[in-house]
């Protein structure tokens, strides 16, 4: 092959992945296996709540993610860490506000995302359980780490101050609402 290329030839190499035969999804009728398998994660958040201002600071996030097959460990870990912080932003800070069809917070001065000072220390454990369907058994990791963080944050807040917050972002105002509405446990 190398000899051939060096002699000035051109070569193309195609590889195609076929899902297992039974994995069929009918786009027209929305029938079949849209989600033939799942990645799994467990997420734990340690948080401190200021008893006067009800501000929440996440101090530590522990994530165990089972992603099928890890293809690039550094990037995979990066996806989990980055998604975890995005989930935390969603849980505590980020809210797209729309009014009369216009975004009220359409810039970084008004749409607040976590800085390094908002970021908790993170511990990420990756696990592999390759699955027959996708290439190399990789199930996917991008969206996974965002899903469990908000519930974990709300549980941490409840654990700390005894107020159940049922809306996110769990801003001090909403936590206070929770207390007013008599959810204090």
């Amino acid at each position: 092959m190398l000899d051939y290329l060096e002699a000035g030839g051109e070569a193309e190499h195609h590889v195609r992945h076929e899902p297992p035969k039974w994995q069929i999804f009918d786009e027209e009728h929305y029938h079949g296996f849209a989600y033939p398998t799942y990645s799994y994660a467990a997420q734990v958040v340690d948080a401190e709540v200021d008893p006067d201002t009800l501000e929440v600071q996440a101090t530590r996030a522990t994530v165990v993610a089972e992603v099928g097959r890890i293809i690039h460990e550094v990037q995979c870990r990066g996806q989990v860490e980055g998604g975890t912080l995005q989930g935390l932003g969603w849980a505590l800070l980020e809210e797209m506000k729309v009014e009369n069809g216009h975004y009220r917070n359409d810039r970084m001065a008004t749409y607040i995302v976590p800085t390094i000072l908002d970021a908790p220390e993170m511990e990420v454990e990756l696990m592999e359980a390759p699955w027959e369907g996708p290439p190399f058994g990789a199930k996917g990791v991008g969206e996974l780490p965002m899903d469990g963080i908000a519930p974990a944050v709300c549980a941490a807040v409840e654990n700390a101050v005894g107020i159940a917050v049922d809306r996110i972002p769990a801003t001090p105002e909403r936590i206070l609402d929770g207390a007013d509405e008599g959810w204090a446990s």
């Binding site: 550094v74 860490e81 912080l85 390094i116 970021a119």
Partner: protein, 172 residues
């Protein structure tokens, strides 16, 4: 108006509008496109450069303020041996993903590492408080800077033209 300053150790002079943003000057006039525009309103830190050794936001710095200054960009960092090795290590450890924040982050980090004999997590967090990263969750960034702080040959900023490291690089 005309201003004269040093850019990555090299004396330069430019003629331009007083309110021209340093960010545009770097990217368009000098073709130093390492410096990125994120928000353009002083919130994100993607456009961070060093002016007289301090981190400034080039989207908020007008040309009129540049006369007599020493400016240092990510290209200047990369031009030094230690700087480019630091960048390699930073990337290998996952400190960058999409890369939009990276030029600003590594300059803030290099400044902190140059000035701080004993680095720690809280110091790193304070030094990088003005640089938003949307991708990494910051964990790999903090770890990369912590690890760099433990090295004997850690990154050192060469801000002045007389700094042997930078001069050496340029002559070779």
């Amino acid at each position: 108006m005309r201003v004269a300053f040093t850019l990555n150790g090299r004396p330069v002079e430019v003629e331009g509008q007083g309110d021209e943003r340093l960010l545009d000057l770097l990217r368009r006039h000098f073709r130093l496109t390492g410096t990125k525009e994120g928000c353009g309103e002083g919130e994100c830190g993607a456009c961070t450069v060093l002016m007289d050794g301090a981190a400034v936001l080039s989207c908020l710095t007008p040309l009129v303020q540049l006369d007599g200054r020493e400016l240092f960009t990510v290209e200047g960092l990369e031009a030094t041996t230690r700087g480019s090795q630091f960048l390699e290590r930073f990337a290998a450890g996952g400190g960058t993903q999409c890369g939009a924040c990276t030029p600003g982050i590594v300059l803030s980090a290099a400044r902190y590492l140059s000035e701080t004999p004993v680095v720690d997590r809280n110091g790193i967090r304070r030094a990088l408080a003005g640089n938003i990263c949307r991708c990494t969750g910051y964990e790999a960034i903090v770890k990369a800077i912590e690890a760099e702080g433990g090295r004997k040959d850690r990154v050192q900023l060469a801000l002045h033209p007389s700094d042997p490291e930078l001069t050496e690089e340029r002559e070779s």
